[in-house]
């Protein structure tokens, strides 16, 4: 029983990563209608950023946690202005290809500079212990990650539902043309929203650095799973991507613990296919409204 609980909590921890990444993807897709394939690369840059902060600047995890996402967010805004923005009026496929190319460029730049091998990054000293309750035992850092992910999702939720910025983003996401006709400069918001989504990916990357091997290819495959999460939750649905992120985390953890390896491997994609057949707009999505 304790082990089942440990497995479930662990699923939630992993779900936190899916949720944060899916949330960024969903916000970007909603506002820009861009399927940002480079999201995994930004996640990798987040982890690498944490590593470089430590190695080059001597800045600990606690500094990297706010600093790296901000820097990446600014970088993301620059990229949006420089290239992505130019293609938003064209078929979404163009930007999908563009961000795919960006992924390869970012990965190769990091490979070229730092090699393909992973780099050591430790759990911050304060969180190296484990939390115990009876026979239930769990690494403190993972609990922290889960808490932080929930907090980050809640903060985004608050931002989107309780602030004027969030209101504008929701309106522009749902009906960009109407929102423009009501006097709101939708284009002005696409750059910060893209940067924000990128910052969220960077945040997930920083949080992953102490848990996973920090190498240029991390996130390259993860992004496929996150795409599946977004599709299951409903493209552009904020609540959908968060709920599905945590749900998929638990489901995969259970499958890995209690089913043959092949189940965990295909589970997410089988669910995605089923959802697409049964509810093409996703579990939390709405059918497309005419513009």
């Amino acid at each position: 029983m304790a082990n089942f609980l440990e497995q479930t909590v662990n699923g939630l921890v992993n779900g936190g990563f899916y949720a944060m990444l899916a949330l960024g993807l969903a916000v970007i897709f909603g506002m820009l209608k861009v399927v940002n394939f480079a999201h995994g690369a930004f996640y990798m840059l987040g982890a690498f950023g944490a590593y470089l902060c430590l190695r080059e600047l001597g800045l600990s995890f606690w500094w990297a946690l706010p600093l790296v996402p901000v820097v990446l967010g600014v970088l993301g805004m620059g990229l949006e202005r420089a290239v992505i923005h130019r293609l938003t009026r064209l078929d979404p496929l163009y930007n999908f290809l563009l961000t795919f190319g960006l992924t390869l460029i970012l990965q190769d730049l990091v490979k070229w500079r730092y090699g393909v091998s992973a780099n050591p990054y430790e759990v911050p000293a304060a969180l190296r212990g484990t939390l115990r309750a009876g026979s239930f035992e769990f690494p403190a850092y993972r609990v922290f990650v889960f808490g932080f992910a929930v907090l980050a999702c809640a903060a985004v939720w608050w931002l989107l539902t309780r602030t004027r910025i969030g209101m504008v983003v929701r309106a522009a996401t749902e009906r960009p043309e109407l929102t423009g006709a009501l006097g709101i400069d939708v284009a002005r918001w696409t750059t910060p929203v893209f940067g924000f989504g990128v910052a969220l990916a960077g945040l997930a990357g920083v949080l992953a650095a102490p848990m996973q091997a920090v190498n240029p290819l991390m996130g390259a495959d993860l992004i496929i799973v996150v795409f599946a999460v977004v599709v299951i939750g409903g493209l552009g649905s904020i609540l959908g991507s968060v709920a599905t992120g945590f749900g998929v985390g638990i489901a995969v953890a259970w499958a890995q613990a209690y089913a043959p390896p092949v189940v965990a491997q295909v589970l997410v994609f089988v669910v995605m296919a089923a959802v697409l057949l049964w509810r093409p707009a996703g579990l939390f999505g709405r059918e497309e409204t005419p513009a």
Binding site: M167, R170, E177, A181, L182, G183
Partner: protein, 230 residues
């Protein structure tokens, strides 16, 4: 207030509007009527800047709208009331009202909006698209009145509404007019049109074929009805 001069518009190869010229004076309520496909909605969208494939000139209060994007036109005082009523699913009624910026000298305060539209007050926390059709139409109107828009572009606000609600819309438009709001209205309901409007343009195949006043409309009601195919 509004001057449209030799405006042509199309979709790809197809021309939808040909050399349309019209004027709306400040404080006037003017309707555009015509059969489906005559180009009424395209004309409104072209004025709003939502339809980009246009030639000709559109002036608002003496300013050439040129290639201005829709949000800039809205800020010059255009109030957009779309034919689908534009109710957001992700915004509450109250949020929908406060979403657009204030653009004119005489915006309606929120309190006044709620006074005039008690149904919106009662449901201010609900998602806008959960309102009834009539309430959604009220919301679309209230939204641009709260902006302080000077020229409302209303695309068939009475479509599908009960006579009672149609009457209410008329009341609101007349009320707005007394506060100096100008209205360009796409309308199929001739009777309703004569109760709110001063003048009427008849569009056919992308051209303005007639300009009428209320007396003309009443005198030629049967002819016009058959012409409009109603």
């Amino acid at each position: 207030m509004l001057r449209v001069d030799r405006l042509s518009a199309g979709y790809g190869e197809a021309t939808v509007l040909r050399d349309v010229s019209l004027q709306v004076a400040a404080g006037e309520v003017v309707t555009l009527c015509g059969r489906n496909g005559a180009g009424k909605t395209t004309l409104l969208r072209a004025i709003m800047g939502l339809h980009r494939q246009v030639q000709g000139r559109i002036e608002l209060l003496g300013t050439d709208l040129g290639r201005l994007p829709p949000h800039r036109r809205a800020r010059l005082g255009l109030g957009w009331v779309p034919d689908d009523r534009g109710a957001y699913a992700t915004l509450s009624v109250a949020e929908s009202l406060t979403l657009p910026p204030v653009v004119g000298p005489e915006p309606w305060p929120l309190a006044r909006v709620y006074e005039v539209f008690p149904a919106l007050y009662a449901r201010r926390g609900a998602a806008a698209n959960t309102l009834s059709g009539g309430e959604q139409q009220m919301l679309a109107l209230a939204r641009v009145l709260r902006m302080g828009a000077r020229l409302l572009l209303c695309d068939e606000p009475t479509e599908g509404l009960s006579p009672l609600l149609v009457g209410q819309i008329g009341t609101i438009l007349r009320e707005a007019r007394t506060h100096g709001v100008t209205v360009l209205l796409v309308e199929q309901n001739l009777h309703f049109a004569t109760t709110v409007a001063d003048r009427h343009y008849v569009l056919a195949e992308g051209r303005i074929v007639e300009a009428l006043d209320n007396d003309d409309v009443q005198a030629r009601e049967h002819e016009l009805l058959s012409y409009l195919g109603i």
